[in-house]
Protein backbone atom coordinates (compact mmCIF):
# COMPACT_ATOMS: atom_id res chain seq x y z
CA UNK A 1 0.00 0.00 0.00
CA UNK A 2 2.66 2.40 1.09
CA UNK A 3 4.80 1.42 -1.85
CA UNK A 4 1.94 1.89 -4.27
CA UNK A 5 1.36 5.39 -2.98
CA UNK A 6 5.01 6.29 -3.28
CA UNK A 7 5.12 5.02 -6.82
CA UNK A 8 2.02 6.96 -7.65
CA UNK A 9 3.50 10.09 -6.14
CA UNK A 10 6.74 9.67 -8.01
CA UNK A 11 4.86 9.11 -11.25
CA UNK A 12 2.65 12.16 -10.76
CA UNK A 13 5.67 14.21 -9.83
CA UNK A 14 7.38 13.18 -13.06
CA UNK A 15 4.37 13.93 -15.20
CA UNK A 16 3.98 17.34 -13.56
CA UNK A 17 7.61 18.14 -14.24
CA UNK A 18 7.19 16.98 -17.82
CA UNK A 19 4.10 19.16 -18.31
CA UNK A 20 5.83 22.23 -16.87
CA UNK A 21 8.83 21.61 -19.09
CA UNK A 22 6.70 21.30 -22.23
CA UNK A 23 4.86 24.45 -21.23
CA UNK A 24 8.12 26.34 -20.75
CA UNK A 25 9.44 25.03 -24.08
CA UNK A 26 6.50 26.19 -26.18
CA UNK A 27 5.80 29.35 -24.19
CA UNK A 28 8.18 31.72 -26.04
CA UNK A 29 6.26 31.25 -29.30
CA UNK A 30 3.28 32.98 -27.72
CA UNK A 31 5.41 35.74 -26.26
CA UNK A 32 7.23 36.85 -29.40
CA UNK A 33 5.79 40.34 -29.10
CA UNK A 34 6.13 40.50 -25.34
CA UNK A 35 9.83 41.12 -24.77
CA UNK A 36 9.22 42.30 -21.25
CA UNK A 37 7.51 39.07 -20.20
CA UNK A 38 10.34 37.13 -21.80
CA UNK A 39 12.76 39.22 -19.77
CA UNK A 40 10.92 38.33 -16.56
CA UNK A 41 11.21 34.65 -17.42
CA UNK A 42 14.88 35.02 -18.25
CA UNK A 43 15.60 36.76 -14.95
CA UNK A 44 13.69 34.03 -13.15
CA UNK A 45 15.92 31.41 -14.76
CA UNK A 46 19.00 33.48 -13.88
CA UNK A 47 17.97 33.56 -10.23
CA UNK A 48 17.03 29.89 -10.15
CA UNK A 49 20.62 29.09 -11.14
CA UNK A 50 22.24 31.68 -8.88
CA UNK A 51 20.06 30.58 -5.96
CA UNK A 52 20.87 26.91 -6.58
CA UNK A 53 24.53 27.86 -6.46
CA UNK A 54 24.04 29.67 -3.16
CA UNK A 55 21.90 26.81 -1.87
CA UNK A 56 24.95 24.58 -2.11
CA UNK A 57 27.21 26.70 0.09
CA UNK A 58 24.48 28.26 2.24
CA UNK A 59 21.72 25.68 2.34
CA UNK A 60 23.74 22.50 2.44
CA UNK A 61 27.13 23.50 3.86
CA UNK A 62 25.62 26.19 6.10
CA UNK A 63 28.17 28.88 5.21
CA UNK A 64 26.55 32.28 4.93
CA UNK A 65 28.37 33.58 1.85
CA UNK A 66 27.73 36.99 0.35
CA UNK A 67 30.19 36.51 -2.48
CA UNK A 68 27.77 35.34 -5.19
CA UNK A 69 27.79 38.76 -6.85
CA UNK A 70 31.59 38.80 -6.90
CA UNK A 71 31.79 35.41 -8.67
CA UNK A 72 28.99 36.45 -11.01
CA UNK A 73 30.94 39.58 -11.95
CA UNK A 74 34.20 37.66 -12.34
CA UNK A 75 32.48 35.44 -14.89
CA UNK A 76 30.95 38.38 -16.72
CA UNK A 77 34.17 40.41 -16.82
CA UNK A 78 36.48 37.54 -17.76
CA UNK A 79 34.58 36.42 -20.84
CA UNK A 80 33.81 40.00 -21.86
CA UNK A 81 37.44 41.09 -21.67
CA UNK A 82 38.49 38.04 -23.68
CA UNK A 83 35.81 38.81 -26.26
CA UNK A 84 36.79 42.49 -26.56
CA UNK A 85 40.54 42.04 -26.71
CA UNK A 86 41.10 38.81 -28.56
CA UNK A 87 37.67 38.13 -30.00
CA UNK A 88 37.44 34.84 -28.13
CA UNK A 89 34.10 33.11 -28.24
CA UNK A 90 32.31 33.36 -24.89
CA UNK A 91 31.96 29.57 -24.96
CA UNK A 92 35.68 29.43 -24.18
CA UNK A 93 35.59 32.65 -22.17
CA UNK A 94 33.15 31.09 -19.78
CA UNK A 95 35.63 28.34 -18.93
CA UNK A 96 38.23 30.97 -18.16
CA UNK A 97 35.67 32.73 -15.95
CA UNK A 98 34.71 29.53 -14.15
CA UNK A 99 38.35 28.64 -13.57
CA UNK A 100 39.24 32.04 -12.16
CA UNK A 101 36.12 32.18 -9.97
CA UNK A 102 36.71 28.67 -8.63
CA UNK A 103 40.35 29.49 -7.94
CA UNK A 104 39.41 32.65 -6.06
CA UNK A 105 36.79 30.68 -4.13
CA UNK A 106 39.51 28.21 -3.22
CA UNK A 107 41.80 30.98 -1.92
CA UNK A 108 38.94 32.64 -0.06
CA UNK A 109 37.82 29.33 1.44
CA UNK A 110 41.26 28.32 2.62
CA UNK A 111 41.64 31.62 4.46
CA UNK A 112 38.10 32.37 5.55
CA UNK A 113 36.56 29.03 6.50
CA UNK A 114 37.97 29.18 10.00
CA UNK A 115 35.59 32.11 10.52
CA UNK A 116 32.21 30.91 11.69
CA UNK A 117 28.68 32.14 11.09
CA UNK A 118 28.32 35.90 10.83
CA UNK A 119 32.06 36.47 10.74
CA UNK A 120 32.32 34.47 7.55
CA UNK A 121 29.40 36.47 6.11
CA UNK A 122 31.08 39.78 6.95
CA UNK A 123 34.37 38.62 5.45
CA UNK A 124 32.69 37.65 2.16
CA UNK A 125 30.86 40.98 2.05
CA UNK A 126 34.20 42.72 2.53
CA UNK A 127 35.72 40.71 -0.30
CA UNK A 128 32.85 41.51 -2.68
CA UNK A 129 32.92 45.20 -1.80
CA UNK A 130 36.70 45.46 -2.20
CA UNK A 131 36.43 43.78 -5.59
CA UNK A 132 33.77 46.28 -6.56
CA UNK A 133 35.95 49.22 -5.48
CA UNK A 134 38.87 47.85 -7.47
CA UNK A 135 36.76 47.45 -10.60
CA UNK A 136 35.23 50.91 -10.15
CA UNK A 137 38.72 52.41 -10.38
CA UNK A 138 40.46 50.00 -12.72
CA UNK A 139 40.83 51.77 -16.09
CA UNK A 140 41.63 48.74 -18.22
CA UNK A 141 38.37 47.04 -17.28
CA UNK A 142 36.35 50.17 -17.97
CA UNK A 143 36.33 51.48 -14.39
CA UNK A 144 32.99 53.01 -13.45
CA UNK A 145 31.95 53.40 -17.10
CA UNK A 146 31.79 49.66 -17.52
CA UNK A 147 32.25 47.64 -20.66
CA UNK A 148 30.09 47.45 -23.76
CA UNK A 149 30.26 44.16 -25.56
CA UNK A 150 31.31 44.48 -29.23
CA UNK A 151 28.37 43.65 -31.46
CA UNK A 152 29.02 40.56 -33.52
CA UNK A 153 26.96 38.78 -36.12
CA UNK A 154 24.03 37.20 -34.28
CA UNK A 155 25.10 33.60 -33.81
CA UNK A 156 25.37 30.80 -31.36
CA UNK A 157 29.16 31.08 -31.64
CA UNK A 158 29.17 34.55 -30.08
CA UNK A 159 26.05 33.92 -27.96
CA UNK A 160 24.44 37.03 -29.44
CA UNK A 161 20.95 37.24 -30.85
CA UNK A 162 18.56 39.99 -31.76
CA UNK A 163 15.55 38.29 -30.27
CA UNK A 164 15.18 37.38 -26.61
CA UNK A 165 13.87 33.91 -27.45
CA UNK A 166 17.25 32.19 -27.89
CA UNK A 167 18.38 33.72 -24.59
CA UNK A 168 15.22 32.36 -23.01
CA UNK A 169 16.18 28.83 -24.03
CA UNK A 170 19.79 29.32 -23.01
CA UNK A 171 18.91 30.44 -19.50
CA UNK A 172 16.21 27.77 -19.21
CA UNK A 173 18.87 25.19 -20.00
CA UNK A 174 21.26 26.68 -17.44
CA UNK A 175 18.56 26.67 -14.78
CA UNK A 176 17.74 23.02 -15.50
CA UNK A 177 21.39 21.99 -15.54
CA UNK A 178 22.20 23.72 -12.25
CA UNK A 179 19.11 22.22 -10.62
CA UNK A 180 20.02 18.73 -11.83
CA UNK A 181 23.55 19.27 -10.55
CA UNK A 182 22.27 20.16 -7.07
CA UNK A 183 19.90 17.20 -7.27
CA UNK A 184 22.82 14.82 -7.89
CA UNK A 185 24.79 16.40 -5.07
CA UNK A 186 21.78 16.23 -2.76
CA UNK A 187 21.63 12.47 -3.20
CA UNK A 188 25.39 11.93 -3.02
CA UNK A 189 27.59 11.13 -0.07
CA UNK A 190 29.06 14.63 -0.24
CA UNK A 191 25.56 16.10 0.09
CA UNK A 192 25.08 14.11 3.27
CA UNK A 193 28.49 15.20 4.59
CA UNK A 194 27.68 18.85 3.87
CA UNK A 195 24.42 18.55 5.81
CA UNK A 196 26.30 16.98 8.71
CA UNK A 197 28.89 19.79 8.60
CA UNK A 198 26.08 22.34 8.73
CA UNK A 199 24.66 20.75 11.88
CA UNK A 200 27.90 20.10 13.74
CA UNK A 201 31.21 20.76 12.06
CA UNK A 202 33.36 19.53 14.91
CA UNK A 203 31.24 16.42 15.23
CA UNK A 204 31.65 15.74 11.50
CA UNK A 205 35.40 16.11 11.87
CA UNK A 206 35.16 13.47 14.60
CA UNK A 207 33.48 11.14 12.14
CA UNK A 208 36.60 11.33 10.00
CA UNK A 209 35.05 13.67 7.43
CA UNK A 210 37.47 16.08 5.80
CA UNK A 211 35.20 19.04 6.49
CA UNK A 212 37.51 21.65 4.94
CA UNK A 213 37.66 19.73 1.68
CA UNK A 214 33.90 19.41 1.30
CA UNK A 215 33.29 23.05 2.20
CA UNK A 216 35.90 24.09 -0.36
CA UNK A 217 34.35 21.89 -3.06
CA UNK A 218 30.92 23.36 -2.32
CA UNK A 219 32.30 26.91 -2.43
CA UNK A 220 34.14 26.29 -5.69
CA UNK A 221 31.12 24.75 -7.42
CA UNK A 222 29.05 27.67 -6.13
CA UNK A 223 31.57 30.12 -7.60
CA UNK A 224 31.75 28.24 -10.90
CA UNK A 225 27.98 28.26 -11.43
CA UNK A 226 27.83 31.99 -10.61
CA UNK A 227 30.63 32.74 -13.08
CA UNK A 228 28.91 30.72 -15.80
CA UNK A 229 25.71 32.70 -15.37
CA UNK A 230 27.78 35.91 -15.26
CA UNK A 231 29.12 35.19 -18.73
CA UNK A 232 25.69 34.45 -20.18
CA UNK A 233 24.22 37.48 -18.45
CA UNK A 234 26.85 39.76 -19.99
CA UNK A 235 26.03 38.28 -23.41
CA UNK A 236 22.39 38.98 -22.74
CA UNK A 237 22.51 42.59 -21.55
CA UNK A 238 25.61 43.48 -23.68
CA UNK A 239 26.80 45.99 -21.13
CA UNK A 240 28.37 45.39 -17.74
CA UNK A 241 29.59 47.73 -15.05
CA UNK A 242 30.57 47.24 -11.41
CA UNK A 243 27.36 48.77 -10.09
CA UNK A 244 25.05 46.38 -11.87
CA UNK A 245 27.08 43.17 -11.72
CA UNK A 246 28.63 43.57 -8.27
CA UNK A 247 25.60 44.90 -6.47
CA UNK A 248 25.35 43.21 -3.08
CA UNK A 249 21.60 42.95 -3.70
CA UNK A 250 22.39 40.12 -6.15
CA UNK A 251 23.77 38.05 -3.29
CA UNK A 252 21.02 39.15 -0.95
CA UNK A 253 18.37 38.23 -3.47
CA UNK A 254 19.90 34.77 -3.95
CA UNK A 255 19.74 34.22 -0.20
CA UNK A 256 16.17 35.54 0.03
CA UNK A 257 15.08 33.27 -2.81
CA UNK A 258 16.55 30.20 -1.10
CA UNK A 259 15.21 31.11 2.35
CA UNK A 260 11.80 31.78 0.86
CA UNK A 261 11.70 28.59 -1.17
CA UNK A 262 13.30 26.22 1.30
CA UNK A 263 16.85 26.08 2.58
CA UNK A 264 18.84 23.00 1.63
CA UNK A 265 16.19 21.51 -0.66
CA UNK A 266 16.44 21.04 -4.41
CA UNK A 267 12.97 22.45 -5.10
CA UNK A 268 13.39 25.45 -2.77
CA UNK A 269 15.42 27.76 -5.03
CA UNK A 270 13.21 26.92 -8.03
CA UNK A 271 10.00 27.75 -6.16
CA UNK A 272 11.55 30.77 -4.49
CA UNK A 273 12.79 32.30 -7.73
CA UNK A 274 9.59 31.46 -9.62
CA UNK A 275 7.58 33.40 -7.05
CA UNK A 276 9.90 36.18 -5.87
CA UNK A 277 11.46 37.32 -9.16
CA UNK A 278 8.17 37.95 -11.05
CA UNK A 279 6.73 39.48 -7.88
CA UNK A 280 9.73 41.80 -7.61
CA UNK A 281 9.36 42.86 -11.24
CA UNK A 282 5.64 43.40 -10.79
CA UNK A 283 5.97 45.52 -7.68
CA UNK A 284 8.74 47.53 -9.31
CA UNK A 285 6.44 48.42 -12.20
CA UNK A 286 3.34 49.00 -10.11
CA UNK A 287 4.96 50.77 -7.20
CA UNK A 288 8.20 51.93 -8.79
CA UNK A 289 8.08 55.36 -10.35
CA UNK A 290 9.52 57.14 -7.38
CA UNK A 291 12.71 55.16 -7.73
CA UNK A 292 13.98 51.77 -6.75
CA UNK A 293 13.45 49.92 -3.56
CA UNK A 294 9.76 49.13 -3.43
CA UNK A 295 10.30 45.57 -4.53
CA UNK A 296 12.74 45.14 -1.67
CA UNK A 297 10.23 46.45 0.85
CA UNK A 298 7.67 43.93 -0.42
CA UNK A 299 10.35 41.23 -0.25
CA UNK A 300 11.02 42.20 3.33
CA UNK A 301 7.41 41.72 4.35
CA UNK A 302 7.14 38.39 2.57
CA UNK A 303 10.27 37.12 4.25
CA UNK A 304 8.95 38.22 7.64
CA UNK A 305 5.68 36.42 7.00
CA UNK A 306 7.49 33.25 5.93
CA UNK A 307 9.80 33.33 8.91
CA UNK A 308 6.88 33.73 11.27
CA UNK A 309 4.61 31.19 9.65
CA UNK A 310 6.96 28.50 8.31
CA UNK A 311 10.70 29.11 8.64
CA UNK A 312 11.44 26.07 6.50
CA UNK A 313 10.11 27.83 3.41
CA UNK A 314 7.38 27.55 0.81
CA UNK A 315 8.49 24.09 -0.22
CA UNK A 316 7.52 22.68 3.16
CA UNK A 317 4.22 24.57 3.12
CA UNK A 318 3.37 23.08 -0.27
CA UNK A 319 4.40 19.63 0.84
CA UNK A 320 2.22 19.70 3.94
CA UNK A 321 -0.58 21.16 1.84
CA UNK A 322 -0.28 18.19 -0.50
CA UNK A 323 -0.38 15.74 2.39
CA UNK A 324 -3.50 17.42 3.76
CA UNK A 325 -5.27 17.33 0.40
CA UNK A 326 -4.32 13.68 0.13
CA UNK A 327 -5.84 13.02 3.57
CA UNK A 328 -9.07 14.82 2.65
CA UNK A 329 -9.34 12.94 -0.64
CA UNK A 330 -8.93 9.63 1.11
CA UNK A 331 -11.53 10.62 3.69
Amino acid sequence: MQEGRDLFNKATKRSWLFLILVFLLILPHFLENEPYLLHVFIMTFVYISLAQAWNLIGGYAGQLSFANNAFFAIGAYTSTMLLIHIGLTPWLGLFAGITIAAFIAYLLGVHLFHLKGHYFAVATIAFAEILKLVFLNWRSVGAAYGLSLPLKMPSLYFIMWRSKIPYYYLFLLVAIVSTVLICILDQSKAGMYLRSIKQDEEGSEHKGIDTKYYKLIAFMINAGICALIGTFYAQYVLYIDPRSTMDIMISTKCILVVLFGGLGTVAGPVLGAAILVPLGEYTRIKLGGGGQGWDYIVYGFIILAILMYQPSGVYVILRSFKTNVWKILRG
Partner: protein, 249 residues
Protein backbone atom coordinates in the same frame (compact mmCIF):
# COMPACT_ATOMS: atom_id res chain seq x y z
CA UNK B 1 50.12 -11.11 24.58
CA UNK B 2 48.56 -9.50 21.57
CA UNK B 3 49.76 -6.23 20.03
CA UNK B 4 49.06 -2.74 21.28
CA UNK B 5 46.12 -1.00 19.67
CA UNK B 6 46.60 2.34 21.28
CA UNK B 7 49.32 3.91 23.31
CA UNK B 8 50.02 7.33 24.79
CA UNK B 9 53.60 7.92 25.93
CA UNK B 10 54.42 10.50 28.61
CA UNK B 11 51.70 12.85 27.49
CA UNK B 12 51.73 16.36 28.93
CA UNK B 13 49.11 19.04 28.30
CA UNK B 14 49.04 22.44 29.96
CA UNK B 15 46.33 25.07 29.90
CA UNK B 16 48.15 28.21 30.98
CA UNK B 17 49.39 27.49 34.48
CA UNK B 18 47.28 24.38 34.92
CA UNK B 19 48.82 21.04 34.04
CA UNK B 20 45.86 18.96 32.91
CA UNK B 21 47.96 15.95 31.95
CA UNK B 22 51.31 15.38 33.60
CA UNK B 23 53.52 12.75 31.99
CA UNK B 24 50.67 10.31 31.41
CA UNK B 25 51.43 6.96 29.80
CA UNK B 26 48.65 4.51 29.02
CA UNK B 27 48.18 1.70 26.56
CA UNK B 28 45.35 -0.49 25.35
CA UNK B 29 46.02 -3.94 23.92
CA UNK B 30 44.12 -5.44 21.05
CA UNK B 31 40.67 -6.79 21.95
CA UNK B 32 40.91 -5.40 25.46
CA UNK B 33 38.45 -3.27 27.40
CA UNK B 34 40.38 -0.80 29.51
CA UNK B 35 38.73 1.50 32.01
CA UNK B 36 39.80 5.01 32.93
CA UNK B 37 38.53 6.44 36.18
CA UNK B 38 39.23 9.57 38.14
CA UNK B 39 37.41 12.42 39.87
CA UNK B 40 36.02 15.37 37.90
CA UNK B 41 38.69 17.54 36.41
CA UNK B 42 41.38 14.89 36.66
CA UNK B 43 42.09 15.07 32.92
CA UNK B 44 40.22 12.06 31.52
CA UNK B 45 38.46 13.89 28.71
CA UNK B 46 41.60 15.94 28.02
CA UNK B 47 43.40 12.65 27.43
CA UNK B 48 40.71 11.64 24.91
CA UNK B 49 40.85 15.06 23.27
CA UNK B 50 44.60 14.73 22.82
CA UNK B 51 44.18 11.20 21.51
CA UNK B 52 41.77 12.32 18.76
CA UNK B 53 43.82 15.34 17.77
CA UNK B 54 41.27 17.82 19.05
CA UNK B 55 43.93 19.16 21.42
CA UNK B 56 47.64 19.21 20.67
CA UNK B 57 49.69 17.77 23.53
CA UNK B 58 52.64 19.88 24.70
CA UNK B 59 54.81 16.81 25.12
CA UNK B 60 54.60 13.11 24.49
CA UNK B 61 53.48 10.89 21.66
CA UNK B 62 50.39 8.97 20.68
CA UNK B 63 50.55 5.72 18.75
CA UNK B 64 47.86 3.77 16.99
CA UNK B 65 48.97 0.23 16.26
CA UNK B 66 52.52 1.47 16.77
CA UNK B 67 52.11 4.22 14.16
CA UNK B 68 52.77 7.74 15.43
CA UNK B 69 49.62 9.84 15.05
CA UNK B 70 50.67 12.75 17.27
CA UNK B 71 49.72 16.16 15.90
CA UNK B 72 47.51 14.94 13.06
CA UNK B 73 44.17 16.66 12.56
CA UNK B 74 41.08 14.98 14.07
CA UNK B 75 39.65 13.69 10.81
CA UNK B 76 42.99 12.09 9.91
CA UNK B 77 43.25 10.38 13.28
CA UNK B 78 39.66 9.13 13.08
CA UNK B 79 40.42 7.85 9.57
CA UNK B 80 43.43 5.97 10.92
CA UNK B 81 41.04 3.96 13.07
CA UNK B 82 40.12 5.79 16.28
CA UNK B 83 36.37 6.05 16.93
CA UNK B 84 35.01 8.22 19.65
CA UNK B 85 31.77 8.91 21.47
CA UNK B 86 31.07 11.92 23.63
CA UNK B 87 30.03 12.50 27.22
CA UNK B 88 26.97 14.36 25.99
CA UNK B 89 25.69 12.63 22.86
CA UNK B 90 26.56 14.20 19.58
CA UNK B 91 24.00 12.68 17.24
CA UNK B 92 23.20 14.75 14.13
CA UNK B 93 19.59 15.72 14.86
CA UNK B 94 18.49 16.46 11.30
CA UNK B 95 20.12 13.45 9.70
CA UNK B 96 18.22 10.17 9.86
CA UNK B 97 19.55 7.38 12.04
CA UNK B 98 20.73 5.62 8.87
CA UNK B 99 22.51 8.78 7.68
CA UNK B 100 24.13 9.11 11.10
CA UNK B 101 25.53 5.63 10.53
CA UNK B 102 26.56 6.25 6.93
CA UNK B 103 28.61 9.38 7.67
CA UNK B 104 30.57 7.22 10.11
CA UNK B 105 31.94 4.83 7.50
CA UNK B 106 35.68 4.54 7.13
CA UNK B 107 36.74 7.60 5.17
CA UNK B 108 40.28 6.42 4.79
CA UNK B 109 40.13 4.96 1.30
CA UNK B 110 37.12 6.93 0.16
CA UNK B 111 37.44 8.83 -3.12
CA UNK B 112 36.54 12.39 -2.23
CA UNK B 113 35.88 13.29 -5.86
CA UNK B 114 33.54 10.37 -6.38
CA UNK B 115 31.72 11.23 -3.16
CA UNK B 116 30.40 14.34 -4.91
CA UNK B 117 28.15 12.35 -7.22
CA UNK B 118 28.07 8.80 -5.80
CA UNK B 119 25.71 7.37 -3.22
CA UNK B 120 26.63 4.89 -0.52
CA UNK B 121 27.35 1.32 -1.54
CA UNK B 122 24.78 -1.34 -0.75
CA UNK B 123 27.21 -3.13 1.52
CA UNK B 124 27.70 0.03 3.59
CA UNK B 125 23.95 0.29 4.09
CA UNK B 126 23.75 -3.41 4.93
CA UNK B 127 26.53 -3.03 7.48
CA UNK B 128 24.80 -0.03 9.04
CA UNK B 129 21.56 -2.01 9.35
CA UNK B 130 23.40 -4.93 10.87
CA UNK B 131 24.98 -2.71 13.53
CA UNK B 132 21.68 -0.96 14.22
CA UNK B 133 20.15 -4.39 14.74
CA UNK B 134 23.06 -5.26 17.00
CA UNK B 135 22.22 -2.36 19.33
CA UNK B 136 18.49 -2.92 18.83
CA UNK B 137 17.34 0.29 17.11
CA UNK B 138 17.12 -0.86 13.48
CA UNK B 139 13.38 -0.09 13.35
CA UNK B 140 14.25 3.60 13.84
CA UNK B 141 16.62 3.79 10.88
CA UNK B 142 14.60 6.36 8.92
CA UNK B 143 13.80 8.57 11.95
CA UNK B 144 15.71 11.83 12.36
CA UNK B 145 18.45 11.48 14.97
CA UNK B 146 16.89 14.28 17.02
CA UNK B 147 13.71 12.25 17.56
CA UNK B 148 15.55 9.55 19.51
CA UNK B 149 15.50 9.35 23.29
CA UNK B 150 18.76 10.05 25.05
CA UNK B 151 19.43 6.39 25.65
CA UNK B 152 18.71 5.52 22.04
CA UNK B 153 21.12 8.26 21.00
CA UNK B 154 23.79 6.65 23.18
CA UNK B 155 23.15 3.33 21.42
CA UNK B 156 23.28 5.03 18.02
CA UNK B 157 26.63 6.61 18.89
CA UNK B 158 27.98 3.26 19.97
CA UNK B 159 26.78 1.64 16.74
CA UNK B 160 28.17 4.43 14.58
CA UNK B 161 31.53 4.19 16.35
CA UNK B 162 31.73 0.58 15.17
CA UNK B 163 30.98 1.46 11.53
CA UNK B 164 34.59 1.95 10.45
CA UNK B 165 36.03 -1.24 12.04
CA UNK B 166 38.10 0.89 14.42
CA UNK B 167 41.39 -0.11 15.98
CA UNK B 168 40.18 1.40 19.23
CA UNK B 169 36.91 2.95 20.41
CA UNK B 170 37.14 5.73 22.96
CA UNK B 171 33.93 5.85 24.98
CA UNK B 172 33.47 8.94 27.13
CA UNK B 173 30.97 8.00 29.86
CA UNK B 174 28.79 5.68 27.75
CA UNK B 175 26.16 5.33 30.49
CA UNK B 176 25.99 8.89 31.85
CA UNK B 177 22.44 10.19 32.06
CA UNK B 178 20.86 6.88 31.10
CA UNK B 179 18.28 4.90 33.11
CA UNK B 180 19.39 1.66 34.83
CA UNK B 181 17.65 -0.72 32.41
CA UNK B 182 19.35 0.87 29.45
CA UNK B 183 22.68 0.98 31.28
CA UNK B 184 22.59 -2.82 31.37
CA UNK B 185 21.80 -2.94 27.67
CA UNK B 186 24.69 -0.63 26.79
CA UNK B 187 27.13 -2.64 28.94
CA UNK B 188 25.84 -5.77 27.24
CA UNK B 189 26.48 -4.36 23.78
CA UNK B 190 29.99 -3.19 24.66
CA UNK B 191 30.98 -6.57 26.09
CA UNK B 192 29.29 -8.35 23.18
CA UNK B 193 31.11 -6.22 20.59
CA UNK B 194 34.36 -7.00 22.37
CA UNK B 195 33.76 -10.75 22.56
CA UNK B 196 32.13 -11.29 19.18
CA UNK B 197 34.00 -8.86 16.96
CA UNK B 198 37.12 -8.33 19.03
CA UNK B 199 36.56 -4.57 19.28
CA UNK B 200 39.03 -2.74 21.52
CA UNK B 201 37.57 -0.23 23.98
CA UNK B 202 39.04 2.48 26.15
CA UNK B 203 36.28 3.65 28.47
CA UNK B 204 35.89 6.66 30.76
CA UNK B 205 33.17 5.98 33.30
CA UNK B 206 32.07 7.41 36.62
CA UNK B 207 29.71 4.60 37.43
CA UNK B 208 31.94 2.22 39.43
CA UNK B 209 29.65 -0.81 39.02
CA UNK B 210 29.72 -0.35 35.25
CA UNK B 211 33.44 0.09 34.90
CA UNK B 212 34.21 -2.78 37.28
CA UNK B 213 31.98 -5.14 35.37
CA UNK B 214 33.40 -4.47 31.92
CA UNK B 215 37.07 -3.59 32.21
CA UNK B 216 39.89 -6.09 32.06
CA UNK B 217 42.41 -3.52 33.19
CA UNK B 218 42.00 -0.08 34.64
CA UNK B 219 43.81 3.23 35.03
CA UNK B 220 43.07 5.80 37.70
CA UNK B 221 43.82 9.43 36.99
CA UNK B 222 43.98 12.22 39.57
CA UNK B 223 45.10 15.81 39.00
CA UNK B 224 46.61 14.85 35.65
CA UNK B 225 48.69 11.90 36.89
CA UNK B 226 48.19 8.17 36.68
CA UNK B 227 48.01 7.11 40.33
CA UNK B 228 47.12 3.45 39.87
CA UNK B 229 46.85 0.89 37.14
CA UNK B 230 46.27 -2.80 36.59
CA UNK B 231 43.64 -5.20 37.86
CA UNK B 232 40.31 -3.38 38.45
CA UNK B 233 39.83 -4.76 41.96
CA UNK B 234 43.31 -3.66 42.96
CA UNK B 235 42.89 -0.21 41.48
CA UNK B 236 39.63 0.26 43.31
CA UNK B 237 41.23 -0.78 46.57
CA UNK B 238 44.30 1.42 46.10
CA UNK B 239 44.54 3.91 48.99
CA UNK B 240 45.54 6.79 46.69
CA UNK B 241 42.46 6.18 44.57
CA UNK B 242 40.20 6.06 47.60
CA UNK B 243 41.73 9.27 48.87
CA UNK B 244 41.34 11.16 45.60
CA UNK B 245 37.71 10.07 45.33
CA UNK B 246 36.72 10.59 48.94
CA UNK B 247 38.88 13.67 49.30
CA UNK B 248 42.07 13.53 51.32
CA UNK B 249 43.99 16.48 52.67
Amino acid sequence: MSGRSFEAKSLTKRFGGLTALDDVSVHVNEAEIVGLIGPNGSGKTTLFNCATGYLKPDKGKIFLKRIDITGKSPHRIIQEGVSRTFQITRVFPQLTVMENMLISISHKDESKIRAVYKRNHGHEIAKALELLEFVGISELSSEPGGELSYGQQKLLELASALMQDPSVVLLDEPTAGVNPTLINKIIDRIVDANRKFGVTFFVIEHNMDVIMSISMRMYALAAGRIIAEGDPEKVRGNPDVLESYLGGD
